[in-house]
Amino acid sequence: MLRVAGIPAWGTYRRSGVLTRLAIGAVTLALAILLIVLISLSVGPVSIPVRSVASTLIGFVGIDVSDVSRTHELVIQQIRLPRIIVGAAVGMGLGVAGATMQGLFRNPLADPGIIGVSAGGALGAVIAIATGAAGLFFMALPLAAFSGAMIATLVVYGISTVSGHFSMATLLLAGIAVNAFLGAIVSAIVILLPDNGALREILFWLAGGLDSRAWEHVLMSLLPIIGGIGIAMVMARDLNLLILGDDEARSLGVNVVPVRLLLLAVGAMVTGVAVAVSGTIAFVGLVTPHVLRLLLGPDNRVLIPMSALGGAVFVILADTVARTVIQPAELRVGILTAFVGAPFFILLLIQNRGRGYSL
């Protein structure tokens, strides 16, 4: 196990049964989400009392206790709530993609951003916007991002297993190379594109973040991400065995190749969809499963659903801080997640030395 100063005492929870850990994790994280959502809905350029926030939310489900001003209701309904839900969807997707990839690659440093999957999704999305394909039908943009993410996943996976067995060093180096290569193509597209609407859209989108996310983005992202998480949860037990190795998984009854391909596709799908609605938000997929593994243990039947909730907490919280900390200006959520995530990544690298999966 990895150790972070101050946290191990919490690890006692990880000795309990699967259901106990699920219950403790779900209740704690659900309360955290509720609290953060209430705060996030209330703060911003227009400050809305938490009381009014609660009344508005209750009003949505048909019980009219409304003593809330129309302006406040509109701010919540049209601006803050969709942004929070998109943030939650992105966080859930990235958290689960991280947990799944860390299992598939048997490696606690795998993350959709680090190994190039997000970059693949970004290139897919950029090509879709530049060619106008993104406007063809409603789900065109997420579909393009998913395709890019899937291709990047297969390339990185292929390279890191080329010698017949999986290599951690090759994975990270392949991730660096793929990130740089895809980034270069994106830059070339941006430079070659005439200055028109598509270019501005790409630049706005490339910067990443959750600004002006609306209900259409909720529609675009929520269902595919929840569907992907569902599949990952169903396959969680198989993933436990895959972590131990292909032989182990096979001898305990897993059809290794189809299961692995399905989980790689799920990781690419949720990452692609998340990238399509928010650009690339770094480190969520790395940090979330890690912290939860320390608290609740490595069993993916617990880790995957909790990484979904934890990722949502992380992104909503980071976005709330990002859009309020230097008011009236806004930081982007990716700045906040990187600010927390990058030092965490370095900490992991240092702690992992001599543990069998260091470089």
């Binding site: 196990m1 990895l2 972590i243 131990l244 292909d246 032989d247 009854g253 243990g297 999966y357």
Partner: protein, 277 residues
């Protein structure tokens, strides 16, 4: 046990496994019946591990078929095969933070429905298996904190928790101290005698002679001798397969066949002769 009553629970016919142009198994056939402990012996690279992996359904043979109780492996769903056959790997894999109890409970996975979570009876079975292998005291520890031999015993416990009808073990005693070697082989012996089938790759020929009902001697992927220990363990076979001169006798203290190794055979092509500086 005579050959006549051997109802084969696990058998292979004409098994050949080729990888990168090299034949690791060459037309291997064997039958193992209920109640038997079969030892697979042979020098390094003879194909012992490959044979066990094929018997566990972990690798697909290039040619030939494996049968469980008369049914071809390829006709069985993987989970059904996993309920019947357990494999203890030679080297315990990295477990990335799972506790030993969690690992042993994984042996219950093939018996559980997809949405089922291990219950009290599964934990009882797991803990019982850990008691048998003297590992229950490690239940809450992560496997990374154990020694090589302790890890090996945890993975034997997991195979027992799988409650298999066929138990495959790849050098199950290679890292164990002498007490645990005797205990583990006794345990496997007992497991087999209670109606299961056990096939184990064994390095130590004295251990193999003492505990196994039948032996299969592999060399370069081929079966060069099989049968009762006294038929397989002859000075001629040992010299032919290993290139080692030996004297074979019955140990008066254990009443088992025993070998004394005299030294490398003259004229055997040893690859790495040490040159004095």
């Amino acid at each position: 046990m005579t050959a006549a009553v051997r109802a084969a629970s696990l058998s292979v016919e004409g098994l050949t496994y080729t990888i990168q142009g090299k034949k690791l198994l060459d037309n291997v056939s064997l039958r193992a019946g209920q109640g038997e402990l079969v030892g697979v012996i042979g020098p390094n690279g003879a194909g012992k591990s490959t044979l066990l992996r094929a018997l566990a359904g972990v690798i697909e043979p290039s040619d030939g078929d494996c049968y469980l109780e008369g049914r071809r492996f390829v006709e069985m769903p993987a989970r059904e095969r996993a309920r019947a056959i357990a494999l203890v790997p030679q080297v315990a894999p990295m477990a990335h933070g799972f506790t030993c109890l969690e690992l042993v409970l994984m042996g219950r996975y093939p018996h559980m429905g997809r949405f089922q979570i291990e219950g009290a009876s599964d934990e009882d079975i797991a803990r019982q298996a850990m008691r048998l292998t003297d590992t229950e005291q490690f239940a809450e520890r992560t496997i990374e904190t154990l020694s090589g031999g302790e890890r090996q015993r945890v993975f034997i416990a997991r195979a027992l928790a799988q409650q298999p009808r066929v138990l495959l073990l790849d050098e199950p005693t290679s890292n164990l101290d002498i007490l645990h070697q005797l205990r583990v082989l006794g345990l496997i012996r007992e497991w087999a005698s209670n109606g299961a089938t056990a096939i184990a790759a064994v390095h130590d020929l004295n251990m193999a002679a003492r505990h196994c009902d039948f032996l299969i001697l592999l060399s370069n992927g081929k079966v060069i001798s099989e049968g009762m220990p006294e038929d397989v363990l002859t000075a001629e076979n040992v010299s032919g397969a290993y290139g080692v001169e030996s004297v074979i006798y019955r140990d008066p203290h254990t009443d088992a066949l025993a070998l004394s190794l005299i030294g490398p055979s003259a004229g055997f092509p040893h690859r790495n002769r040490v040159k004095a500086p």
